[in-house]
């Protein structure tokens, strides 16, 4: 579904964020993108829908090339790519329903969106999607009245309403508590499975990635240094991605139960203490 060839991005400041990334995501597969801060995860995801303009390389969505597409063509391609953000990126002063319907903006003429007279089918879809993410009771609330987890559900509903082929998900849980993070990751996994969506999920939390994602791509300094099953994330691989650190506790959790019940996420404090002591 998504094919990236030799993707490079050099920012105007001279920082090379991506140095030749190749990546293929088949339809229906959800992959996790991990790597240290500054490795280029966000840049990669934003290059796919060209919120960030790539410097070199080619990106294909299905058979259509995203790179080099005209503005009109790009808008049409963006309709097929839903995006979910770390800070939710909702329009705070609009209602939940308006935020969700915003997912249809690419498909609806301007005057309809201005007067908020969306096609009945879109509104029906919005209700169904809000029901699916468990927010049917909050349709008429303003987005800034919701909790973090609820806001991210609105973000998910908005992306789903685009009826996309691909989801680009940028740190979906980084602003959420551990329990909500798991719920959101499970929801993302479920809806992708229901709709056979491909998805690229940027994620900081290695344990969470192992818990919910089958395939992991490790990015370091703009290059792919690991591409394989999440079970293969052992201490050596994590060292290759993130650098030297005591990974034994994190890596061990990969063998454990991929379930909430398992206290999989290692508490960072002892690890840090140990690192400081060494």
């Amino acid at each position: 579904m998504l094919r990236i060839e030799g993707l490079q991005k050099q920012y105007r400041t001279g920082d090379a964020a991506l140095r030749g990334v190749d990546l293929v995501v088949p339809a229906g597969e959800v992959i996790g993108l991990i790597g240290p801060s500054g490795a280029g995860k966000s840049t990669l995801i934003r290059c796919v829908n060209r919120l960030v303009e790539p410097t070199a390389g080619r990106i294909f969505l299905g058979d259509d090339e995203v790179t080099g597409a005209s503005r009109r063509a790009l808008r049409r391609l963006r309709r097929r790519m839903g995006m979910i953000f770390q800070e939710f990126a909702l329009v705070e002063r609009l209602t939940v329903m308006e935020n969700v319907l915003a997912g249809r903006l690419g498909a609806v003429p301007f005057w309809r969106s201005l007067t908020r007279r969306f096609p009945p089918e879109d509104v029906r879809n919005a209700f169904a999607t809000l029901d699916r993410v468990g927010l049917l009771d909050h349709v008429d609330k303003r987005a800034d009245a919701l909790s973090g987890g609820q806001r991210q559900r609105v973000g998910i509903a908005r992306a789903l309403l685009q009826d996309p082929d691909l989801l680009l998900i940028d740190e979906p849980t980084a602003s959420l508590d551990p329990k909500t993070s798991r719920q959101i990751m499970r929801l993302i996994g479920e809806v992708c499975a229901e709709r056979r969506l491909a998805a690229v999920v940027n994620i900081h939390d290695v344990a969470l990635a192992q818990m919910f994602l089958g395939r992991i791509v490790g990015l370091k300094a703009g290059e792919v240094v690991y591409d394989g099953p999440s079970a293969g994330l052992d201490a050596t691989v994590l060292t290759r991605i993130y650098g030297e650190e005591d990974w034994t506790r994190t890596a061990r959790s990969a063998d454990g139960e991929p379930d909430d019940a398992a206290p999989a996420a290692p508490a960072p404090a002892p690890r840090l203490l140990r690192a400081a002591a060494e």
């Binding site: 919120l51 939710f88 903006l105 301007f110």
Partner: protein, 272 residues
């Protein structure tokens, strides 16, 4: 940086380097010198006999002002209404100019930062640099005396003020929702409608009411040069030395401003 070591090797920290401290002292010295020079300039042409006489003069005018001529109030209603109309219509007329100029001037919405933005900023600066009284003077000669000149004068001055504040509000929005709207494949107008307008709306309403409040005061003044409103009555009373009418007009203006401030505070509170 101002970290050095003492003779025994312990690190010493100062907020500024010696050089910067000297520079700051020099700047203060220049400021004092400027004040002294300005004072000399001011006093050179002052006729001190008039100044010593001032308290007596003020007391004299004060007694002539009191009591205000209350019976004159009936004749003020019409000019007061004109003044309110000048302020309100002037603000409304400024809006459809100020908003597009602000959109063109804001760094994150301007179509071209090298061509269009400087032009929009020029419009804003030009409008702001000329006081509404001077606009009114110009317009009275062009349009003739009357309310219309006042309305246009107020509007021309307000464009810059509102344009500047609105474009600053646009530049301060959270870019994340804008990005999210672009990611859905929305057109530029739709991005503006969903991503930008809701974020700017409270500031926009606040700025408009604030400017309306200022314009009520300014429209009382533009009448002095013939642009209609209560300022006309004030000028007439001043010219005929009818001090008891002047005091009444000042009281009416004060009351109007108080009411408008109360209204604008209420409205701003309700919106945010």
């Amino acid at each position: 940086m101002p970290v050095s070591s003492a003779a025994d090797g312990t690190p010493v920290w100062r907020r500024t380097t010696r050089r910067r401290a000297l520079l700051a002292w020099f700047a203060w010295l220049m400021l004092v010198a400027l004040v002294v020079a300005a004072w000399n300039e001011m006093t050179r042409d002052t006729i001190w006999a008039f100044v010593w006489d001032a308290p007596g003069q003020a007391a004299d005018i004060g007694t002539r002002m009191l009591p205000p001529r209350w019976s004159y109030a009936g004749e003020l209603l019409r000019p007061l209404w004109d003044t309110l109309a000048i302020a309100t219509l002037g603000t409304l007329l400024a809006l459809p100019i100020a908003v597009p100029v602000a959109v063109l001037a804001a760094r994150n919405t301007t179509p071209s930062a090298t061509l269009v933005r400087p032009l929009a900023l020029l419009i804003i600066v030009a409008s702001r640099s000329i006081n509404s009284l001077i606009w009114a003077l110009l317009l009275v000669t062009v349009l003739g005396p009357g309310v219309l000149a006042g309305i246009v004068a107020i509007a021309l001055r307000s464009v810059g003020f509102m344009g500047k504040l609105i474009y600053e509000a646009i530049e301060e929005i959270d870019p994340a929702p804008v990005e999210a709207m672009q990611a859905t494949g929305a057109s530029a107008l739709q991005v503006m409608d969903y991503g930008i307008v809701p974020q700017v709306m409270p500031a926009f309403a606040g700025i408009t009411v604030f400017r309306w409040d200022i314009n009520i005061r300014e429209s009382a003044v533009v009448g002095l040069v013939g642009a209609g409103g209560i300022g006309l009555s004030l000028e007439a009373s001043l010219n005929t030395l009818a001090w008891s009418q002047v005091s009444l007009i000042l009281l009416v203006i004060l009351a109007t401003v108080l009411v408008s401030e109360w209204v604008s505070a209420k409205v701003r509170h309700a919106i945010i």
